[in-house]
């Protein structure tokens, strides 16, 4: 399970099709260490600008977003790991600050919901299919056809394609 989760996290980290958005980061904020700065950029894409609509602090021009960017960079400079730095912000501003909610009990519905829909749908269709297979009527219609009729049916279907 742990391994599965960590693989999942790696995929998430890629962010699949996440678009590079506007960089609101101002020149004065940028850290001297490019590695640290890159980490800060990556982390701030997943942190919400609390006063904006649906924007990350990486994209937002709001003052609060700027404060958060600086705060994040200070934590990284102080030697925090990525997790520690993010946890620091979560402690202060709540889980609301995360654009990607954590995988936990209270977000279970969110994370597995779509996949549950997939499974339930597949199960429902599979059951419906079994019913059709079991139904003698369906078989009978097939069986009732003469060889000639069957050939004719096939041709009709082909021409519809």
């Amino acid at each position: 399970m742990r391994k599965f989760l960590s693989i999942l996290l790696v995929i998430m980290a890629f962010g699949l099709f996440s678009q590079e958005s506007v960089r609101a980061v101002e020149p004065s904020e940028i850290l001297d260490d490019p590695k640290l700065e890159a980490r800060a950029r990556e982390l701030s894409k997943n942190l919400r600008c609390l006063v904006c609509q649906n924007e990350s602090i990486d994209e937002s021009n709001a003052d609060l977003a700027k404060d958060l960017r600086i705060l994040l960079r200070e934590r990284l400079k102080a030697g925090d790991t990525d997790e520690e730095a993010v946890q620091y912000l979560v402690d202060r501003y709540g889980e609301y600050v995360l654009l990607k909610p954590r995988f936990a009990l209270h977000t279970l519905v969110l994370w597995i919901g779509p996949f549950l829909v997939l499974l339930i749908g597949a199960y429902a269709l599979w059951r419906a299919r079994r019913k059709v297979v079991a139904a003698p009527a369906a078989k009978k219609v097939e069986a009732d056809l003469s060889e000639e009729e069957r050939k004719r049916l096939q041709e009709l279907l082909e021409s519809e394609k």
């Binding site: 995929i11 998430m12 890629f14 962010g15 699949l16 099709f17 996440s18 678009q19 590079e20 958005s21 506007v22 960089r23 609101a24 980061v25 020149p27 894409k45 997943n46 919400r48 609509q53 649906n54 990350s56 994209e59 021009n61 709540g94 889980e95 609301y96 600050v97 995360l98 654009l99 990607k100 909610p101 209270h106 977000t107 519905v109 969110l110 994370w111 919901g113 779509p114 996949f115 829909v117 997939l118 749908g121 597949a122 269709l125 419906a128 299919r129 019913k131 059709v132 297979v133 139904a135 009527a137 369906a138 219609v141 097939e142 004719r152 041709e155 279907l157 021409s159 519809e160 394609k161």
Partner: protein
């Protein structure tokens, strides 16, 4: 006077809608032909009445009649004509009126084009359609009246103007298209409910439903593409999709609509998946209603949500409960009575369409859950706040979409009932070869990530696979070219439409991956005379000046674009402040389209060093818009298929085709 006339017509329309609902539905139950026959004329009368109401409101806008609250709050005398007209639906009340207008239009269209529908089915479809009108007309006339007057002694001299962001040609036509899509699904919904009442779903039913669903889906596709294009050039962030609740609201019915289109094919051709298709029709329209609700009730605040009013929210919630709850109850009660048929093996054309349906539904569920989760969470935990942002959607949506995209070219290669996967894959060998070759090329030569290479390979796989399917259909290179071309010309609209729409999806995928992988950005502040380099171009800031439009003033910055030291174009980028709504400046982006991509220049505020400019290069982003256009065209070509024009006399070719082929 004209305004009151409009108001009066709207109330009359309500009465007619009640009549259109009650009488035909009762008539169908009693088997009374006389009662059922009132449905069609009632639908026509209802449309004319709503049209009169809509025209009256438009008239008030054109004459800037500020004694009407709605006009005063959303218009301005200095507005250009186009925006006076679009002002009608740029606000809550007017947009709901547009919604009902389109609903009534669809109702009348059903009445006109369904002459050969069984009488009871037609009566029931129009009856259900009428009931939706009843709900929305009641809503408009009671809590959302666009004709409300201001007392004569207090009529203002000037209006407050439109939301500046909406004063834009793309957004002027975005709502009507989107609504045509939302409302279009009401037809599939009405057909589904009517079928449940009748207890009968057959191939003919699917053949009637499909064109309406296709039309709705086309409008929705165009509406979403236009909205996305608008966000791209107007919001000045350079992005085109933000997983904003309002965008999600339109994406959900789109996804359900795609699923519905595909499952209706199975009903039509193979008489299977009926119950499932009925369910999808109900879901597609329910999601459209929820989409309207999300945007219109102000329950989710976002850039586009400009209506905040709890009283209306509760009313719309009741409408939602009635239609969604009611239709699901009817479904639960009657779905079992529908005869199932059409057996098929898991690996077959039907099987592929089922997989499409499952993945599309799950993707819609992901968007649905992600959009509503914060709301529900807050309600359940008593004020607990949680954010569901783009990273969540990218992840869940991406995981569900990738297998779906990979399977797009495979589905059409499979035969009905039972298919051989290996045979299908062999028929796709060119597409497979091309897309496999692309992967290392992208990684090594273009320095793309593995993920980008896979994305591009999938895009190419879809496009090449669709073309390969078409090439085999027209026997390209296997018979004289002239014969192939003739076969192409005679190709059924549905088949050609499928090729176009599928290839369009491939282009969208390519556009998304290429433009986001190799995007370049420069954000800096410039003084006049300074220049920046981006993507091989030099963008030089010349100067700025004040510019005035009919109802705004703008700070306009001029840029020269140079390639190899030679000037190739001049760009203007503006920040507009509207007379009527100060404090909400909008950006007017300077855009230059090249084959290799878009050069995008937006200006920000003045800072202590100079003018803040954001310059982007979006490589090959046009592939995405091209993809959207192809999907739309695919829908159109498919809609033109003569097989949809039921009732048309059989042509000589049809009669020939009816003979045994060999």
């Amino acid at each position: 006077m004209i305004v009151e006339l409009g108001h009066f017509a709207l109330v009359l329309a309500f009465a007619v809608a009640v009549y259109q609902t009650v009488v035909p539905l009762y008539g169908a139950m009693r088997g009374s032909s006389r009662l059922m026959n009132v449905a069609a004329p009632a639908a026509a009368v209802q449309f004319v009445l709503v049209m009169i109401a809509f025209a009256a409101l438009t008239w008030a806008y054109l004459t800037s009649d500020f004694s009407v609250v709605n006009v005063w709050a959303n218009s301005h005398t200095a507005k250009p004509l186009l925006y006076k007209i679009t002002g009608v639906w740029s606000n809550h009340e007017g947009s709901m009126l547009l919604w009902v207008l389109i609903l009534a239009l669809f109702g009348m269209a059903i009445a006109i084009f369904s002459g050969n529908l069984p009488q009871s089915l037609k009566a029931r479809v129009l009856g259900v359609q009428g009931s939706i009108s009843v709900a929305f007309l009641l809503y408009i006339t009671t809590v959302s009246n666009p004709f409300e007057r201001i007392p004569p002694d207090r009529v203002p001299m000037q209006g407050r103007g439109i939301n500046p962001l909406l004063q834009d040609p793309a957004l002027a036509f975005h709502p009507p298209l989107l609504y045509a899509g939302y409302v279009g699904f009401s037809v599939a919904f009405s057909f589904a409910l009517a079928a449940l009442m009748e207890g009968k779903v057959d191939a003919a039913w699917a053949r009637w439903v499909r064109p309406w669903t296709l039309a709705a889906w086309m409008f929705l596709t165009a509406g979403i593409a236009l909205g996305s294009w608008w966000a791209y050039y107007e919001l000045g962030w350079g992005g085109w999709w933000f997983w904003d609740p309002v965008e999600n609201a339109s994406l959900m019915p789109w996804l359900a609509g795609v699923a519905l289109l595909h499952s209706a094919i199975v009903v039509e051709k193979r008489n299977a998946l009926k119950i499932w298709t009925i369910l999808l029709a109900i879901i597609a329209f329910s999601l459209s209603l929820i989409g309207t609700f999300l945007v219109r009730s102000g329950v989710l605040s976002s850039v586009h949500a400009f209506a905040v009013d709890p009283e209306r929210g509760v009313f719309i919630l009741m409408i939602l409960l009635f239609f969604i709850g009611g239709s699901f109850l009817l479904y639960a009660a009657r779905a079992g009575s529908l005869k199932t048929g059409g057996l098929f093996a898991p690996v077959s054309r039907e099987g592929a369409l089922v997989v499409n349906n499952l993945l599309m539904s799950a993707a819609a569920a992901a968007v649905f859950i992600g959009t509503l989760f914060p709301l529900v969470y807050e309600a359940v935990t008593g004020g607990g706040k949680i954010t569901v942002g783009a990273p969540y959607f990218n992840f869940t949506f991406g995981i569900l979409m990738i297998p779906l995209l990979v399977l797009i070219p495979v589905g059409p290669m499979l035969s009905w009932k039972r298919a051989d996967l290996m045979v299908a894959l062999k028929r796709l060998w060119v597409a497979a070869a091309v897309s496999v070759v692309v992967v290392p090329l992208i990684i090594v030569m273009a320095k793309g990530s593995i993920l980008a290479a896979l994305g591009i390979a999938i895009g190419i796989w879809i496009i090449a696979g669709s073309l390969e399917e078409m090439a085999q259909r027209i026997k390209l290179f296997r018979c004289p070219l002239g014969t192939s071309l003739r076969r192409l010309w005679n190709m059924p609209g549905q088949a050609l439409g499928m090729t176009l729409a599928h290839a369009g999806m491939g282009f969208v995928m390519l556009g998304i991956v290429v433009s986001s992988t190799w995007k370049e950005e420069v954000i800096t502040s410039l003084k006049p005379g300074e220049a920046v380099q981006i993507a091989g171009y030099e963008v030089k800031f010349l100067d700025e000046r004040q510019d005035t439009g009919p109802d705004y003033v703008a700070e306009q910055a001029h840029f020269d674009v140079l390639e190899n030291g030679r000037k190739i174009a001049t760009l203007y980028s503006e920040k507009r402040t509207f007379v009527a709504r100060r404090g909400m400046p909008t950006t007017e982006v300077g855009l230059l389209h090249f084959f290799s991509g878009d050069l995008y220049v937006a200006i920000g505020d003045q800072d202590n060093r100079g003018r803040v400019v954001r310059i982007y290069f979006h490589p090959f982003i046009w592939l995405m818009w091209l993809g959207g256009l192809l999907m739309f065209l695919g829908g159109f070509v498919s809609l033109m298929d003569r097989r949809f024009r039921v009732g048309v006399p059989k042509t000589a070719r049809d009669r020939l085709a009816a003979q045994p082929a060999e």
